[in-house]
Amino acid sequence: MHESSINMAGSLRLRPAGQVMQLERLGSLHASRLSFVRTLVRQMARQRWQVSCTRFDLDAQGHGTAVYRLQTPYGRYHGVIFAQPLEDSARSDRVIAEAWDVTFGVVEGELNEDLLAQMAANVPLQEAGRQDPRVLVLSRANKSLRNFASFVDALAEGRQPDPAWLTKVGYLYRTTAVYGNGKFGIADYARLQDSPDFRRPFSVQMFAVYLLRHFSIEQVEHIARSRAPESAVAMHPTLRRYLGIGNSTGLGMAPFLINHPQLIQQWILSRESALAMALEQVPTEAERWRLIELTRRAMQHLAQTVTEDKPQQERNLETVASLPEVLTWLETVPLDTDLWQQLTAWAERTLQLETQELINTLLLELYPAVVEPFEDQMSADERVELTPDMPLVRLKQLIDTHYDWTLDHDFTTREGCYWFWYRSIEKEEPRLGVRHQEPGAEKEMPLAIAPRVQRAHDAICAFLSDHPRALVVEFLMEQPRYKEIVRRIQTMAETAYGEIRANLWHRDMKPMHLLRAKLSFFGASRFDPKSDRWVRMTLFQGAPLVEELNAEPVDLVDFDDWSFSLEPAAIDTHLPKAGETPE
């Protein structure tokens, strides 16, 4: 029987933070069954969520308004999507864009005409509009023009689009921002904290993206049908499944990871605890073969992952090249009780980081009963408070013990303080500048934690030499500038995994690792870095469809088994007309 009590986390053999929180390792994580898209799909199936279309007013070009209703056992929501014409010159994935192919929002409760009119006037403006507090998510997306055109052409001509298009770029639309938590007047996250439907972090944002995926299928079929009513066909369900939603993400995602250390602690602790529990399971022969099957699937998925980014391409190739060795290992070693521990120890010794973390991700797949309780451990009460009565010498000890990694860096060299992070006047877009070369360093965002801790440590040591019995508050009364970093240290010293152990100023620092770490928790696949600071990836590729969800699936294990999606084999072209559901 599997041990599934999450209370065991205290006695588990967790990996040390010095290993887990290295930036490069975090930048090697893969989506797992604890990723938010996976969790959402399981929740939707378990609770029998139903999605229906209540308005589909699109013209022949697919422009207009669509409204979808979500009914859960606890509440009703509406997804409202506005599709509009867009000049090619205005199509940009950057946050500085001002118009998009589609804009959309998810509303809590009923949608009356007044609210719809308010949304129609404001949602397409995105950041420039004022949104209603009933709106829970605000987002926008741009077309993948090549995919969109080829899909419309194929469906209109009565044939199925080539699945290879979706292997290259796995979507028709990619989102460029998915806003929650009070942005531009929408509902605060506090509204959702007690929601039985969307209390988990980012779950309502992920639902909005899932809905857009459904719309993208219905819209492309509608355009094909409008163009050629006689010949158009619906998209084959296998192909629909293989269609995800893209996302284009830049540096804007990086500050979140630094500014929410308690949340990051929960995400990583949950994953690490689940992994430690999985490693302790005594494998059966069936589980061994399940892992072999999953490894083969992941290998094929990665072999099919297309990116022009050379470093990512090399890592993918290296992983694919090393997985046959993993398969041989799995097929030949005796079924010892500590097989999984042997496997990860061997992987750590011999394989690159991405392959190590892939194996960890696959091990999590084996034990749903062990892993899934951690779904509810991903939130945090994010209060960072001072402990003013702590002896200052104790604070110094906390730094020496928990933040020792900050004390070794030299922040005075050109390399050691090369980058600075700032917000641009252009829509407050976070950017990186070169210190001593580009303007704006005096307005730097304090994202680099390590130099701040080191400076505080120096100041504390100096103060202690004159006041060895001082309290923290006495030190801060003299040197108030350290208040923020001191309370962060006091708060985070009680946790293992909240701080990313890197010098974010260093010339060799790769922001891409920050982005990937967060995106892996979202559930992203097919990482396609476009530089070291922006990336495209895919969500929900392979995920069950709305119609499968509405059919109230009985086999939830099978419903949940959609990770590492593979290009479908040749698709039968004998299909019903567009608008009809193929069997």
């Binding site: 010159s89 199509r91 940009s92 994935d93 950057r94 946050v95 500085i96 004022r130 507090p133 741009n142 993948s144 023009l145 090549r146 938590n181 009070g182 942005k183 531009f184 007047g185 929408i186 605060d188 996250y189 506090a190 509204r191 284009s248 830049g250 540096l251 209060r383 408070e385 001072l386 003013p388 009565d389 700032y422 917000r423 641009s424 006047i425 252009e426 976070p430 950017r431 990186l432 500048g433 580009e438 303007p439 704006g440 307005k443 304090p446 309290l471 508050v473 801060l476 009364m477 003299e478 108030p480 500038r481 208040k483 923020e484 970093i485 309370r487 476009k530 530089s531 600071r533 922006w534």
Partner: protein, 255 residues
């Protein structure tokens, strides 16, 4: 217009950072304003009243300790807004109360006193009973009492005018705080002195207010909001061609 709590807090934080507040002070001050506004206690109005004063202030001095022993502390707020000067003075009281069970802290010469409530709320959330008291010397003589039970971040508030003004009525710009681990000090309006109750906010009224602002958004004055937006731009860096490259993607994505 209506805004969200997160939006208000975020904007205020940028405004304070732009004014040169230290990072922690900017975050605390933003929390204090947003806290008050979300309970419809006029946080933004209070900020707006003190905004010119804050903007014209010289380099801030941390609150100076005039007297302290194990149980008491008297501090000089140097005439600054509580947004700048109060958090560490309050934390000093917290440390003393933790050590001795009860502490009294007086912060003299402080400005914008209403705004201190938001920080006191945090202390109460950390398990401290907190009572704050201050009075205005001008006629009519008014007093305000703000009381938090330990572990409740919502206060009871009373504002009242005292009819019998003492002869010795110097200008009073101080705040007195009483912090106690295990002693609750809630308002009790049963004095023999004559007074006129000007405002009464119960915990339950305030909680209902908060629930409503969470559901419907927080009302803010458009002009004040526009001014804050303008001030927040101080933290932003001018764009150049090089800086556009510093964010990543190209500016058209027609693939």
């Amino acid at each position: 217009m209506k805004v969200s709590h997160n939006e208000l807090q975020g904007l205020c934080r940028k405004v304070f950072e732009g004014m040169g507040f230290e990072e922690g002070d900017a975050a605390d001050a933003a929390d204090m304003v947003a806290w008050m506004q979300s309970y419809r206690l006029g946080g933004l109005e209070a900020l707006n009243r003190g905004l010119d004063y804050l903007l014209s202030a010289d380099t801030p001095l941390p609150p100076g300790v005039l007297y302290q022993d194990g149980d008491l502390a008297v501090l000089d707020g140097h005439g600054q807004s509580v947004l700048r000067s109060s958090s560490l003075a309050i934390e000093l009281g917290f440390a003393k109360a933790r050590a001795r069970g009860l502490a009294v802290v007086k912060i003299r010469h402080c400005h914008n006193r209403q705004l201190i409530m938001g920080y006191l709320s945090r202390l109460a959330g950390r398990g401290m009973n907190v009572t704050a008291f201050w009075r205005n010397a001008h006629a009519p003589l008014t007093e305000q009492v703000v009381c938090f039970r330990s572990n409740s971040t919502v206060p009871e508030i009373r504002v009242y005018a005292v009819q019998e003004v003492p002869e010795e009525n110097e200008p009073n710009d101080a705040i007195t705080l009483v912090l106690a681990n295990h002693i609750g000090l809630m308002p009790a309006m049963r004095s023999d002195y004559q007074y006129d109750l000007i405002a009464k906010h119960s915990e339950s009224d305030l909680m209902a207010c908060r629930k409503q602002t969470l559901a419907e958004g927080i009302d803010v004055n458009d002009a004040v909001w526009a001014r804050l937006k303008q001030l927040s731009a101080r933290i932003l860096v001018e764009a150049t061609e090089a800086s556009r490259g510093g964010a990543g993607a190209g500016t058209t994505d027609n693939d």
